[in-house]
Every structure is written in C-alpha cells, then in structure tokens.
C-alpha cells in the first residue's frame, strides 16, 4: 500500500504519545506506552479487551490526562485539556456509541454549539451542512433527524464533522463492529480516498483481516504495554496473533475431535417454512443433538430475524419451530426456554445483560427454579452457580457478586453465554456470539459451544463472522431473506462470502 510512499517522503508524525503511564486506582491501564502515527497513514491499533486501547484513545483525544508522559500533535505539545476547541482541531474520535443527538437534524448536529452568532439562520446552517457533506461526498439528507441514520451514515457524518473542525487525524473505534460486509468495504474505500486527501487514521478493530486489508502500519498492545509497531506487510498473521495473546496460538479448529452426531436421532431443533413477509421467507432447517449448524448471511439477509423468531423474541407470520419434539407458543421467549432452549441474543447491551446486577444474578436470570422453591431465590445456590460459570468460561472477575457492568466486553459476553447454558439446554441458539470480543475470548466462547454440542445439545450459530462459523458441521446461507446455499464443513472462505453476498458463479 502507500505506506512506503508516505514514509519515503519523510513526513513528521501527525500524532505521538511518548512514554504514557496511566493508573486508575491500583490498576495500571497504560505502562510506559509510546505510539507514533505518521502523516497519511492508516494505523491499526489492536489488542485484546483490556489491553489499554481505550485508555490510550482517551489520552490521545484529551479526555483523560496521563499520569506521566507527553502527547504531541504535528511535533508540537498538545494543548491544555480545558481547551476543547484546540483538541478538536487536532484529533477526533468516532466512537462505537452514539455521539450525535438523535432528535436533532444532521445539519444541527454538524454545527452543534457553533451555529454562528446571534439568531440562528436555519437556511444558511442547512446550506453550510450540505456544502460540508458534499465536499466529503457524504450522501445524507441534512434535514433528517440523526436517529434515522444508519450506523454507516452516522459514522460518515461524524467523520465529516471531525474534518470540519479542521482535524486531519481521526480515530475510528471499532467502526466495523456494527456494519455489514458491503458497508465495511465502502468504509474502507472511503478511508483510502481520505488518506489520499491527507487524512490520517488510527483504526481500532478486533478483526485482523481488516487490519491486513486496509491498514499500513499496525501497533499491538497487550496488558497495558506497547508490544510492537510494524508495517502491516512485514508482520504475518501468526506473529500478530502471538503479539496479541502473548502465546503462539492461532484460532484452533474447535470442531475437530467432536464425536459425530448420532445418525437417525430425533432432531433437537426443527424449523419448518418459517417466514415474516418482507424480512425472510420459507426458512427450514434442522439441528440434530450434538450437531453445530451455522446460519450465515450479510446484514439485511434476515438471519437475525430468523434467530429471534426461533427463540421467541419475534413472532413469525408463518411456519413452525419445534424444540426437542414440542412446539412452544410462537413469540414467547418463556415458552421456548421451557421447551429446553438457551440463547445468546444479538446485542448483549440491549437484550443480554442487566448491567447493575451481579454475574451470578445475570447468569441465573432464566433459571429461578434452580435457585430455590416457591419463587424464593437462594443467594448461596445462585452464587455457587455463578462461581461455576466463572470457572467454566474463564471469566476474569473478582467473584460472582461483581456487577457485570464492571467487566470488559469479552467477559460480559461470557456471562451471557453462561446464562444461555444455565438451564442445560437441548437447543442452543447463538446470535453473533463473538461480536466485539477479542481472539482469546472468542476461542473460549466457541469452545464452550462445541462442548455443549459434545454434551448432546443441538447448537445453531447465527453470524456473519467466518470464525464463528468454522466449528459448524454445516452452514445454511441466507441472502435477502431466502436460503441460497447449504455448505458442509470444509468450505473455503471465499465460497461462503460469495454466497453471503449473493454472488453465484
């Protein structure tokens, strides 16, 4: 890529952090970390959850002062923390969480708190917004309220807003986590073209493939330390994973060694002719006990709606779902759980966890009958089950009483998984089970799913992450609401992606 070109020009770094150390109480979040981002680079910052990436971003954006060390922009010391405007002119971060005001228009969001002196002229504000978005080729209606934007559009609006402050250094915090394949490609295309216009990116991602696809340089952090910075082309995937995990393990083949499902056994899950008009049509699949089946598809394929219809979060208009030989009432999560289902919902923040409650409480929310009789909840029994979950799933926590809000994303996801398993389900439905978690947590989560299958459960993994689908015995591919392919284990990446994107040869 063009890294070599920009390096040859001898550019000065657009941003640099020197020997940053930051402690929060007893925890060392950053330990003597240095990072230099060259002008015109797309610089990847990778590391497992808790490696210190977010703290480094907070320091680079001036939200948190370092305990020691310095930050420079373009060779000059960073402005004082209180001078937000000066920081905004030097660096901007597009976060995963919303940083627009949902009820206000795109135009107003772009020029929030800098609408001009005196009475606001909405006409000219809209015109300025349109000029700004046109200049950066962002095709969004400036009068639409921000809440109606897609994630992709919102990111583009936030990037344009950052550029309008004069910043030419933009931090993207896991921008691809909520995008589908095509949107990710469009984002990458835009990043490349903005790089040609002189914009520098610091790109944070869990997906190593993306690092290789779009980045010039990669910096790896682990356990609050800087491990390595290298041109992407010079760091192999194996070496990158080793740098991240500190040990030489790649994603092992979790499917191997699992006993084959008994032939002729009654299926654990049978889905027949399931459909919601306009979302998906006539989806049928079966999962045998001990089998892992994948349901793949790009964003908008309807795969999540299929999953939600199976577990009862949505109600399908047509078709039946049979769990372990019984047909639970459609649209009822409770009935599905009683029939022997366990599931991991798509969004752990929205449907998965009660953040203020403890690990033990969250892990056992669905199985109150195991905790005590007559509707009473035995806290000792609950904490035992919580402690077991912590052990089984290798959750990094102080104990079962710790609130889940204090856990990192990967460990939170493990709590959701623990809950799905709490009732010893006959059928396990996992929706994007490894979204936003690091390599190590991913391995644990998928390993747990494989273990559940080995124990006789039928597992359905619904995801567009190829790593999630690797342990599957077969994968059903959905495209625009219809089943387009069935792939036995051993598929090649490009075959599966082609099927998910609806490309047929």
């Amino acid at each position: 890529m063009s890294h070599s070109a920009s390096a040859a020009a001898g550019v000065r770094p657009v941003a640099a952090a020197h020997h940053i150390t930051k402690r929060f109480g007893v925890t060392v979040a950053l330990n003597d970390v240095s990072l230099t981002v060259d002008d015109g680079d797309i610089h990847a910052l990778v590391g497992r959850n808790g490696a210190g990436k977010s703290t480094l971003v907070s320091i680079l954006t001036g939200l948190v002062p370092p305990d020691s060390g310095t930050v420079e922009f373009g060779g000059e010391p960073a402005p004082p923390l209180a001078d937000r405007e000066a920081w905004r002119q030097r660096v901007a971060c597009v976060y995963q969480k919303l940083t627009v005001i949902p009820s206000l228009s795109v135009a107003e969001n772009l020029f929030l708190n800098r609408q001009g002196r005196g009475l606001i002229s909405w006409g000219s504000l809209r015109r300025r917004a349109r000029e700004l978005l046109d200049a950066w080729e962002v095709d969004v209606d400036v009068q639409a309220p921000a809440e109606r934007l897609t994630v992709e559009q919102r990111q583009l609006v936030e990037i344009a807003r950052a550029l309008s402050h004069g910043s030419r250094f933009i931090i993207l915090d896991e921008p691809t986590a909520q995008l589908d394949g095509q949107a990710i490609e469009r984002l990458f295309a835009r990043m490349r073209s903005l790089r040609e216009s002189g914009v520098t990116f610091l790109f944070i991602s869990h997906h190593l493939d993306e690092v290789y696809e779009v980045c010039d340089t990669v910096t790896v952090m682990r356990d609050a330390r800087h491990i390595v910075t290298s041109p992407v082309a010079e760091l192999g995937k194996e070496a990158l994973v080793t740098a991240m995990t500190g040990e030489a393990t790649g994603l092992i083949d979790l499917g191997a060694g699992r006993p084959a499902p008994a032939p002729g056994a009654a299926p654990a899950l049978t889905v027949t002719g399931l459909g919601i008009p306009g979302v998906f049509e006539d989806v049928s699949l079966t999962v045998a006990p001990g089998e892992i089946v994948g349901l793949a598809g790009a964003g908008g394929s309807g795969k999540m709606a299929v999953g939600e219809s199976i577990v009862g979060l949505r109600r399908a208009a047509r078709g039946t779902v049979e769990i372990g030989g019984t047909t639970p009432r459609p649209g009822s999560v409770q009935a599905a759980l009683r029939a022997g289902l366990g599931f991991v919902p798509q969004d752990r923040h929205k449907e998965g966890l009660v953040p203020g409650l403890s690990i033990a409480e969250n892990a056992t929310l669905t199985v109150p009958e195991r905790l005590g009789r007559f509707g009473l909840v035995g806290s000792r029994r609950r904490d035992e089950l919580g402690a077991k979950a912590i052990g089984d799933l290798d959750i990094k926590a102080a104990g079962p009483e710790q609130p889940v809000s204090a856990l990192s994303g990967g460990n939170q996801q493990k709590v959701v998984m623990a809950r799905a398993l709490a009732g010893d389900p006959k059928v396990l439905v996992l929706m994007q089970p490894t979204a936003g978690v690091d390599v190590k947590a991913k391995e644990t989560l998928l390993g747990t799913a494989a273990a559940a299958a080995a124990g006789g459960a039928g597992v359905l993994i619904i995801s567009d992450d190829l790593d999630d689908l690797r342990p599957c015995d077969r994968v059903t591919v959905l495209f625009k609401g219809a089943v387009v392919a069935q792939m036995p284990a051993g598929w090649a990446d490009h075959e599966l992606i082609a099927a998910m994107e609806g490309i047929r040869d």
Binding site: E85, I101, L104, E108, A135, Q143, E152, Q153, E196, S197
Partner: protein, 337 residues
C-alpha cells in the same frame, strides 16, 4: 481530492426523504383546539364571545408560565416538581415581609415597593438551590425537587400560619390586575414570554443547547456545550418564571393563599406532555407546550359553561388529561415516552 472521492463507491442507500414531520408535530393540537372551540360554541354560544376568550386566556396565563418553565427543564431531560411550591412561596414571602403584623401573619420589615423584586429574587434563589443539589452535588432531580416541593410548601404554611395574606400593597397586585391596550397585562406577559422562549429555543445557541443536553448529554459535552452551566441556568430561569406566575395570580386574586399552586404541577406536566414535550428530554417545542395548556383550559371553560357542577370538575379534569393524552397520541402518531 474531489476526483478520488467521486470515484468512490457511493453508499447503497439513497438520500432519506424525511417528511418535515417535526414542523407538523408542533401544530398537532391545533385541530383539537379548533374542535373544542366549535363544540364550545354549540354548548354555549357565549364561549366564543371576546370577553370569554380573554377570560380563558387570563385564567391560564399564570399557570402557563409554570408550563413554560417545566417545558424548558423537560427539554433538558430533567424535571422540577418544586415549581408549584415556588409559585406560592415566592409571592408569599414577599407578602410576609411587606405586610404589617396584625390581621395576617406579616412582619412588615420592608416597604411595599420591595414586593416584586423580593418575589423574583426568592424564585431565583430556589432555582439556584435546586441547581446546587442537582447539578453540583449530582443528586437525583426527581427526589430533590420532590423534597423541595414539600419544604417550600411547608415554609409557606409556616410563615402564613396556614392563613391567607391579603390587603397587599398596590405594586404587588398591579401586574395581575392592570389592563394594557385593552387586554389584561398577564395575557401580554404570558404571550410575550412565550414568543421570546420560542425564539430562544428555536434560534439561539443557548436554546439549542437545551435540546442537545436533553437528547444526549455526553454528545453535548463533547460538542463543547457547558452542560452544567446551562442546566443550572435553566433551573434558575424556571423558578424565576414560576415566581412571576405566582405574582400574576396573587395580583389577580389580591391575596396569597397558603395553598397557592398546590397540586398545579400535575396539570403542568400533563399540559407539557399533551403538547408534545417528551419526559425523556430533547423533544418537543415551547409552542406545543402552550397549545397543551391552552387546550386544557378551553375544555375546562366549556365544562363550566355547560353547567357541570363544581364538585365534578376535579374528576373531569383528570379524565380530560387522559383523553387529551390519547388524542395527542393519535394526532401526532408518536409514542409518548
């Protein structure tokens, strides 16, 4: 640079064609107000007489200032229950300070000329205390203002001995009684303040900051808005408006009852929500809030003209609020959060 960008893949989704619903939502209650006007006319033709309309406007002018105050706070995503007590206490303290001891519980420390400045100052101080507790000490706004509601009500009962202040100085009753250009002064004050608030919330940086804070506080802070200062200022302004509203009512009735404003906060919240102001913050307009309180008072007036016995007005009021909520839910098509 433009060429490289033009060469890029265009987003698959086209422009969102957003119907300008926001504007229409402001006017959602206007049809309801027209319907009530027509119904009122058939119930009793007096309803549409000029004098009666002025009467309705004047009756709602005092409480409409409370609605204005509450709407500003709701837009910021906060709430203030204590406004109804401020509504009574601010003029109450002024009356207590200027009235000579004797018939009522006055202390007579100040001359009558001080009554208006004292009323407004008391309002500002109450708002400042609310701000101190909510913004500075980060206490829960609902509970803080609930506590303030009780404390302030108790203070008024305490200083007045539970009795009514009357025989007030002329400066104190002037605003509630005066007629300017053929209309009661309180109507002018109400309309001018609403007009001002509509301009401020729609067209100034400070006003838009209220929406930004109510919509997403973190994003507002990230945009450089001084969130705490704006919130604190809004709380002070709201209590000031409540004190002024109380002063207008005091003037019209030429007295301050110990119960002045008691229970008004429920009508205030109802009017704001009926008018489209979200309890979650960031949504709604001042004009909408005005149509909300106007609608409630028009309906009450129609009921009175229809000869509904006074004992039943309370129950009907509650029912009206619920029906008005349902109507505005239907006409706006928006879930009320």
């Amino acid at each position: 640079m433009t060429e490289t960008q033009t060469a890029m893949a265009a987003p698959a989704r086209g422009r969102i064609t957003a119907p300008r619903l926001a504007r229409l939502r402001d006017l959602a209650l206007v049809p309801a107000i027209i319907v009530i006007a027509i119904v009122g006319y058939f119930v009793n033709p007096v309803f549409l007489h000029w004098d009666n309309l002025v009467n309705v406007l004047q009756q709602q002018s005092e409480i409409s200032l409370l609605v204005l105050a509450e709407a500003l706070i709701l837009i910021c995503g906060r709430m203030d229950l204590s406004l109804e007590s401020t509504f009574g206490l601010a003029p109450g303290i002024a009356a207590w300070l200027v009235l000579a001891p004797g018939v009522t519980h006055g202390v007579g420390w100040l001359s009558g000329a001080w009554s208006i400045p004292v009323t407004l100052a008391i309002g500002a101080v109450i708002g400042w205390i609310n701000g101190l507790l909510i913004v500075r000490f980060r206490l829960n706004g609902f509970i803080v203002t609930l506590g303030m509601l009780i404390v302030l009500r108790g203070l008024l009962t305490g200083i007045s001995g539970g009795k009514t202040f009357f025989n007030l100085p002329s400066s104190m009753v002037y605003l509630g009684n005066a007629v300017w250009l053929g209309l009661p002064a309180s109507i002018w004050i109400c309309l001018v303040l609403y007009a001002l608030a509509i301009v401020v919330t729609g067209y100034t940086r400070w006003g838009r900051a209220l929406y930004a804070i109510g919509g997403n506080t973190d994003a507002a802070r990230a945009a450089g808005i001084r969130v705490d200062r704006v919130l604190w200022g809004t709380l002070v302004l709201a209590s000031l408006l409540a004190a002024l509203g109380g002063l207008l009512l005091t003037g019209r009735l030429a007295s301050v009852a110990a119960s002045q404003g008691n229970g008004a906060i429920f009508t205030v919240f109802a009017a704001a929500v009926i008018g489209g102001v979200s309890l979650n913050g960031g949504k709604g307009t001042i004009f909408g809030a005005f149509t909300g309180i106007l609608l409630l008072y028009m309906i009450q007036n129609v009921l009175t003209l229809a000869g509904v016995p006074a004992q039943w007005i309370g129950a009907l009021n509650g029912a009206i609020i619920l029906i008005a909520l349902i109507i505005s839910r239907i006409t706006s098509g928006q879930a009320q959060e």
